[in-house]
């Protein structure tokens, strides 16, 4: 398979399209947790109950007339599941316990509904840029359509009942993925992360482990689901996100003013590494991709599309690399493949610019 063909299949809209504020906000996600009132939660349910939930969801989806495609976990190969995880369409949990678990996906892959994950239903909408309200609207629509034929577990005092007490109430997790190199370079994230906590929100690096954020990419999300309306949760998150956007912009401006040449040098060195290296580990790739993306935002690099960071952060993960290679790869082989995939992707844009072919 050529890279171009692979990409058309692999890249989903939130990865290669731009949305509002997409110079800093890569994507927005809304997730609603819902459960059937007639069945035990996935923590303890029997195979029979699981199959029954799965069937009830199928019936509701058909009656609701949603044109989503059903992928059953037991039908998928390990690598296919891993790719879905890396695209943020399913969780690692769903991929693991597969007996009656499934995901309903839209063509664009902006909607995914997980069945029998931690909750019976996890309705998820994923959009490029800052589009939380749009995501919430869509998720509510789907939620309403499903509820017409599916009896939700709901309590007047406690709201939507969920397997884990951290999700009860609205069952809503709203999150945005942000690229914050300016705040990282100016050492401000250590100050911002605890400040965000004061608003019932949490910030964390989503690639890499612990406090290390690969590619300077952070996910900001609400931590509490009970006691606030969905709209207020989203409003509060938006307010903080807008503040972070303003601070990131200020940090970038300050960096350009005080150390413009050094910054340009750093960006172009990283660009050089991505264009010419033959072996690259994921940590270095993430750092360079972040630098290049910043360089594009600041105008140091002109002939590379902005979405390169979104796209390549995902495409250079182990699952994707192996899918592209068509089989298992050892770590060293992955580093070779990663380097060549990045080079090819960058060259593709050259030819695209010259030939004007569309992806």
């Amino acid at each position: 398979m050529t890279l171009e063909k692979f990409l058309t299949k692999a890249v989903t809209s939130w990865m290669n399209e731009e949305g509002p504020y997409s110079e800093i906000v890569l994507s927005s996600r809304i997730r609603l947790a819902r459960n059937s009132k007639h069945h035990s939660f996935p923590t303890v349910f029997t195979e029979k109950e699981a199959a029954d939930v799965s069937q009830k969801v199928k019936d509701s989806m058909q009656k609701a007339g949603e044109s989503l495609e059903l992928l059953e976990m037991k039908e998928l190969q390990e690598l296919q599941k891993r790719v879905l995880v890396e695209k943020h369409l399913i969780s690692p949990n769903l991929a693991e316990d597969s007996a009656s678990s499934a995901v309903w996906l839209s063509d664009e892959e902006d909607i995914s509904i997980m069945v029998n994950e931690e909750d019976h239903l996890r309705i998820q909408c994923l959009y490029p840029g800052l589009q939380l309200k749009e995501g919430l609207r869509k998720a509510n629509e789907l939620d309403d359509a499903i509820e017409e034929h599916f009896d939700y577990a709901f309590d007047e005092q406690l709201g939507y009942l969920t397997t884990c007490p951290t999700n009860v109430g609205t069952g809503l997790r709203a999150s945005v993925m942000m690229h914050l190199p300016g705040l990282m370079m100016t050492n401000q994230m250590n100050r911002i992360i605890p400040a965000i906590g004061q608003f019932g929100l949490v910030a964390r690096g989503i690639y890499g482990e612990g406090s290390e954020a690969l590619g300077n990419i952070f996910q900001i999300s609400n931590q509490t689901t009970l006691g606030k309306s969905e709209e207020d949760i989203v409003e509060d998150l938006l307010r903080v996100v807008h503040q972070i956007i303003a601070q990131e912009k200020a940090a970038r401006e300050a960096l350009v003013q005080t150390s413009g040449v050094q910054l340009e040098d750093r960006v172009l060195r990283s660009y050089g590494v991505l264009r010419y290296s033959r072996i690259i580990e994921s940590i270095e790739a993430a750092k360079c991709l972040s630098d290049v993306r910043l360089g594009i935002d600041l105008g140091y690099i002109k002939d590379v599309p902005r979405t390169i960071l979104n796209e390549l952060m995902i495409l250079t993960q182990p699952g994707f690399l192996q899918q592209y290679a068509g089989g298992f790869l050892r770590p060293f082989e992955r580093d070779l493949r990663r380097a060549s995939l990045i080079r090819e992707r960058l060259e593709m844009d050259d030819s695209q610019l010259k030939g004007g072919t569309d992806l």
Binding site: K37, Y152, P165, E209
Partner: protein, 182 residues
Amino acid sequence: MVCQECQQRPAALHFTKVVNGEKTEVHLCEVCAQDKGDAFLASDASAFSFNNLLAGLLNITPVVQQPNQSQHSDKETIRCKECELTFPQFLKIGKFGCPSCYESFREELPPILKRLHSGNAIHQGKLPEREGGSIHVKRKISELRTELKELVKEEEFEKAAGVRDHIRSLEKDIDQQGGDQP
């Protein structure tokens, strides 16, 4: 010891995480711990269990909140009438077994929920169309009551009378539906 995430609050939860045979110490405060789990699960190499983390978090709750001895021994016997999960089991795994668990453990939940949801224990969000029950009407009534107060304050008595009638008719509806007390 300070939390490794926020570097601010004291670390309350200590774990050893094993990734590819390599052990790492994890020290988190309760705030960071709550949402940390997803992040660990999202990283492909991690064998870290969020359940244990939350269980640790919940387990602290009743001891801190309810030093009362007799109440504590009662809790040992609370059991969900549907799925038969006991309250101590819930605390241990940090997850419910079925929707009825919420009903069975109702008395015990507020301190836990308040702890997890910055002091809140009452849902203020969306109501499902069918399962929402009479609460749709109740919310409408409370909106109308606020409106009524405003109208009375502004001495718009004619309009106020209309709103009052609307409230009464809604209250009647709930009474006739029966079942739960308004």
